[in-house]
Amino acid sequence: MRLGLILGEAGSGLRRNVSMVISVILVTFISLTFVGAAILLQMQIGQMKGYWYDRAQVAVYMCTDVDNTGNCTQAAATQAQIDNVEAQLDSPTLGPFIEKYEFETHDQAYANFQDQFADNPIAAFVTPGDLNESFRVNLVDPTNADVLIESLSGSAGVQAVEDQRGLLDQIFSILNAASYTAIGVAALMLVAAVLLIATTIRLSAFSRRRELGIMRLVGASNRFIQTPFILEGVFASLIGSVMAGAAILAIVKFFVQGYLSTSLGATTTLVGVSDAIVVVPILIVVGAALAAASAGVAISRYLKV
């Protein structure tokens, strides 16, 4: 009886306020889509970190004829210098940190370069001698790169010791910035959504002020009076949240999995539908909780006795 009555009141409020309810739905939809996109971007960053940090190497570049940076004096590293670096990598001080290392010769570097820049005119001008020989070192723990950098940077014939994670961090900081932007937009939109829900509920309460007055007069409990309004707000924003969830799933399925993964190839892992499925309930809970809170605050004015 009471439940039916409360649901009926909420339903009639929604019908009376259709245009406001639609705007609540749209604003929650957009804002929560941004929230979901931000969460997905963070997940993407996490996944890429996991993927790339495992593969990130420390490169020890040896001098070439043309270098005069680092310890180079425009003379190629001698075989003795190369052997010295290799000996250091094998030494008991550095050895425990190193999982494995490879030596890349001029010719291998040239082959890789031609491969990577096949479509680029620069490929025609580069000779094997221009490219550094290097040690590609995989560390047991990639965060210990500084140890290698400190001990090898000073060695003769070493042009530079580079932690490739530094390059990755730039990419991650770009992605991070994007996700913070999304969060910022989402926050603004959520503020708009909350205010809009509050306004909608006030309007709804205003159009029912006669009933509310009589309810208060005859002693309807506050809970009984406020529940239909809260349900009204929650219902509208739930529709928006569900739409946002569907949008997130669609983005992952059709854009990320469908478009990005084919155009980027197998260069990196991307978030999948299973990640998106984790995001959807978060969006729905956030949407419902915000709507309940703002509707509750909006209606509280009508509950003052």
């Binding site: 009555l5 009933e211 009589i214 007069l217 005859v218 309807a220 409990s221 506050n222 009076i225 006795v305």
Partner: protein, 249 residues
């Protein structure tokens, strides 16, 4: 039943209080008229009983409840023991007569079975048994007020507050409403009615409390609208002075 103990009510931003040290007691089963000019504090008096307002000073007890310390959460449950009728009826235009009366019971969580029994009883009591499916705009003013009275008494309240219930009605219709209120009073319900209608007050010869500028200037058993006996001047102030003397001794 209703006891005011040196109650003052001042609204924010006004210098003159709406009620000024009012003390009185209304007993169970009484029929009381509250008379006085507009702005004399009648409505404030009723609103204080309903706890729509809290007094600035003084203590109010209604139905054994100390209203000053009644929490907001408990106010709705307290109001279920009061019925209220207004000059402008305050019916819901989109509900039938039956639904208007049933609404009161629905929102306080009464069962369907109880509503099906109590509403026809109340409508029969006010003489609208055959009109339960009409809408308020299809009824005359007197009939609408009867619906409002049915709504006020359907939950068998101990006190019925009526704020100028005959203010919008012609004398003949008013007389009908008064007969109805009298019958409700005979059933044991305390009735407190604010009114400007001198004819009704004179004819009924019930207890009359007169307010002028927020003070009780007359509290007369079987009084008329205008005083005939020597008025009990400033009853409230008098009572409070004796009280304070008692304490100072």
């Amino acid at each position: 039943m209703i006891r005011f103990d040196t109650v003052s009510k001042a609204y924010p931003g006004t210098t003159r209080p709406a009620l000024n040290t009012v003390s009185l007691e209304i007993l169970k089963g009484e029929f009381v008229f509250l008379v006085g000019a507009s702005g004399s504090g009648k409505s404030s008096f009723l609103r204080l009983i309903l706890k729509e307002e809290t007094p600035t000073k003084g203590e109010i007890h209604v139905l054994g409840q100390h209203l000053n310390s009644l929490t907001n959460r408990k106010v709705p449950y307290f109001r279920r023991n009061l019925g209220v009728v207004f000059q402008d009826f305050r019916l819901l235009p989109n509900k039938t007569v039956f639904d208007n009366v049933a609404f009161t019971l629905q929102v306080i969580g009464k069962s369907r079975g109880f509503i099906q029994e109590a509403v026809p009883d109340a409508l029969k009591m006010v003489g609208l048994a055959g009109k339960s499916n009409r809408f308020p705009h299809e009824l005359s003013g007197g009939e609408q007020q009867r619906v409002a009275i049915a709504r006020a008494v359907v939950n068998k309240p101990a006190i019925l507050l009526a704020d100028e219930p005959t203010g919008n009605l012609d004398p003949a219709t008013s007389a009908g409403i008064m007969t109805l209120l009298e019958r409700i009073n005979l059933g044991g319900t305390t009735v407190l009615m604010a009114t400007h209608d001198a004819g009704i007050v004179d004819q009924m010869q019930r207890r009359v409390i007169e307010l002028i500028s927020g003070q009780i200037v007359r509290d007369e058993r079987q009084g008329g609208y205008q005083t005939q006996a020597i008025p009990v001047q400033s009853f409230g102030t008098f009572a409070s002075t004796t009280d304070s003397q008692g304490i100072s001794k």
